[in-house]
């Protein structure tokens, strides 16, 4: 009986270590994004990174090249860092400023936990559509760079109820962001 407890503890620690690999392999993100001059040299062994970003009430896409990697989470990390830093995004007015990606954790349930700094919430100032588009951009950026069933956003490593006060962050994003938005155009006055 006394032996079982430590063994169980060891096993769970090993499992935890296996799954809780917060991305850290000594390489900084900026090193990972290939500068434009270098791009031509690595054309043949580069990975395409897809970034979906909100612009007003639409979702737009850019594709950039990054050093070749066979690690899809690494690609997703590059993509999300690009989304929040917005260096290559033509119009970043719908993305809150100074947001830092703090970590990614891929759970056994194929949910990617995206941990971001509180600026995502603090510096967001949009209406309901803007909030939905921002959540959608995070979701689409993830699922177009790796195989993930769903995406859950954490703010400063903790659960937050909402990003902008209109939608839940409490649950994974799929059921909110994949429902077709029905818009009945602009009804002109007069």
């Amino acid at each position: 009986m006394f032996i079982i407890a430590p063994i169980l503890l060891l096993c769970s620690a090993a499992v935890a270590y296996y799954f809780f690999i917060w991305r850290d392999d000594g390489e900084t993100l900026s090193q990972h994004i290939v500068s434009r001059k270098e791009q031509e040299k690595v054309v043949d062994n580069s990975t395409q990174i897809h970034i979906y970003y909100p612009e007003d009430s639409e979702l737009k896409k850019i594709t950039i090249k990054s050093k070749q990697t066979f690690d899809a989470i690494k690609s997703t990390e590059v993509a999300l860092t690009e989304l929040f830093s917005g260096k290559n995004i033509p119009n970043r007015s719908s993305i809150p400023a100074d947001v830092k990606l703090l970590g990614l954790y891929y759970g056994v349930d194929k949910i990617l936990y995206v941990d971001v700094s509180s600026e995502l919430k603090k510096n967001f100032q949009g209406d309901a559509t803007a909030e939905l588009m921002l959540l959608k951009s995070i979701f689409e950026t993830v699922i177009n760079n790796m195989e993930a069933e769903d995406v859950k956003v954490l703010i400063d490593s903790a659960e937050a109820e909402s990003l902008g006060g209109h939608f839940y962050l409490r649950y994974p994003l799929r059921r909110t962001v994949t429902q077709e938005i029905v818009t009945d155009g602009l009804h002109k006055a007069g």
Binding site: Q125, G126, D127, A128, T129, A130, L132, E161, S162, G164, G165, H166, F167, Y168, R175, T176, Q179, E180, I181, V182, T183, D184, G185, L186, H187, K188, A189, G190
Partner: protein, 322 residues
């Protein structure tokens, strides 16, 4: 002797400290004269008054002191409410028409005279009362979007959370005489989680729900909740987060009526959308979210509030006739 000297020095430092701390204190008092309320902010600190800037937007007055201060409160008349946020005081005055302000010295003080709109005489009895008779049994709830630390859309001179608070309270006052009851979901500048709001809504029987927000766009947005394909009226009975499924057609009709009346009344455009808003999804009554254009596009004066209230009453009458 040295000990006593030491004590005196310590006492003196403590006293200076206290007086310095008091220096940035602001107290307020108010008095009423015919149709006007005088609100006086008094302090020992000259620069607080000289640097203060005053903005006015509908029934909200922002006083930006441009440096930290200690708000001590004071005697306020009933139509006035004051909230402190960072280096500013936000003052909400019911029926405010315009303000005049002046800075005075010894002691340094900022005097704001708030002129109130005359209470309107009730509209001709026989026509309107007959038309709104159908509304007598309705309980209508207004939700002021955001609140507390969640300020929503922010501009130089407004915060969504405070503007929606003053707009909903005015709308409720205008609509209350026509219906059985007009209820406010949020009455103060406090943060309420979506779940807290839903618990509060669940405690009241309501016939219509309006959530009031702002948008940066130059038109109105009118939302109803997009319900998932599997959510039928049957599912709604067991899953309270999808309760809106049973009311979605009535919500759509209400949204269209409000939208049409708003377009006619304000001459501004309206965009309708169905998005999966968790607050609306769980409401057991026709429920609509209105996003109003920010104050640069539409000035929220008494006339605008009248138009919005009339639009809501018109939509409720269409709904009651169904």
């Amino acid at each position: 002797m040295a000990k006593i000297n030491c004590l005196i020095i310590i006492l003196l430092i403590a006293l200076i400290d206290v007086s310095l701390a008091d220096d940035s204190s602001i107290v307020v008092r108010s008095s009423e004269q015919s149709g006007m309320i005088r609100i006086v902010f008094e302090t020992e600190n000259e620069s607080l008054i000289s640097q203060a800037s005053v903005f006015e937007s509908y029934s909200l007055v922002k006083i930006d002191f441009n440096e930290p201060f200690n708000y001590k409160g004071g005697a306020l008349l009933e139509p006035v409410k004051i909230y402190k946020k960072e280096d500013s005081l936000f003052m909400n005055i019911r029926n405010l028409q315009k303000i005049k302000f002046v800075r005075l010295s010894s002691p340094p003080r900022l005097v704001i005279d708030a002129y109130l709109a005359e209470q309107k005489s009730p509209p001709p009895v026989n026509t309107v009362q007959a038309e709104t008779k159908e509304l007598r049994h309705l309980v209508v709830m207004f939700d002021a979007g955001h609140g507390g630390a969640d300020m929503g859309v922010r501009g130089e001179q407004f915060k969504e959370s405070l503007l929606t608070l003053s707009i909903t309270s005015d709308l409720a006052k205008q609509i209350a005489p026509k219906v059985q009851k007009a209820v406010l979901l949020r009455k103060e500048d406090v943060q309420q989680s979506i779940e807290q709001k839903l618990t509060d809504v669940g405690n009241t029987r309501i016939d219509a729900f309006f959530s009031i927000h702002l948008t940066r766009q130059k038109h109105f947005n009118i939302y109803i909740s997009k319900m998932p394909a599997y959510a039928s009226s049957k599912v709604a009975k067991y899953n309270t987060t999808l309760a809106q499924s049973a009311y979605i057609e009535r919500s759509r009709a209400l949204a269209n009526s409000v939208g049409q009346a708003i377009t006619n009344g304000t001459k501004l455009n309206v965009v309708y959308a169905e998005i999966p808003l968790p607050l609306l999804s769980a409401i057991k009554a026709p429920a609509v979210m209105l996003e109003l254009p920010e104050p640069q596009t539409l000035s929220y004066n008494a006339e605008t509030i009248d138009t919005l209230a009339a639009s809501i009453i018109k939509a409720l009458m269409d709904y009651a006739k169904r």
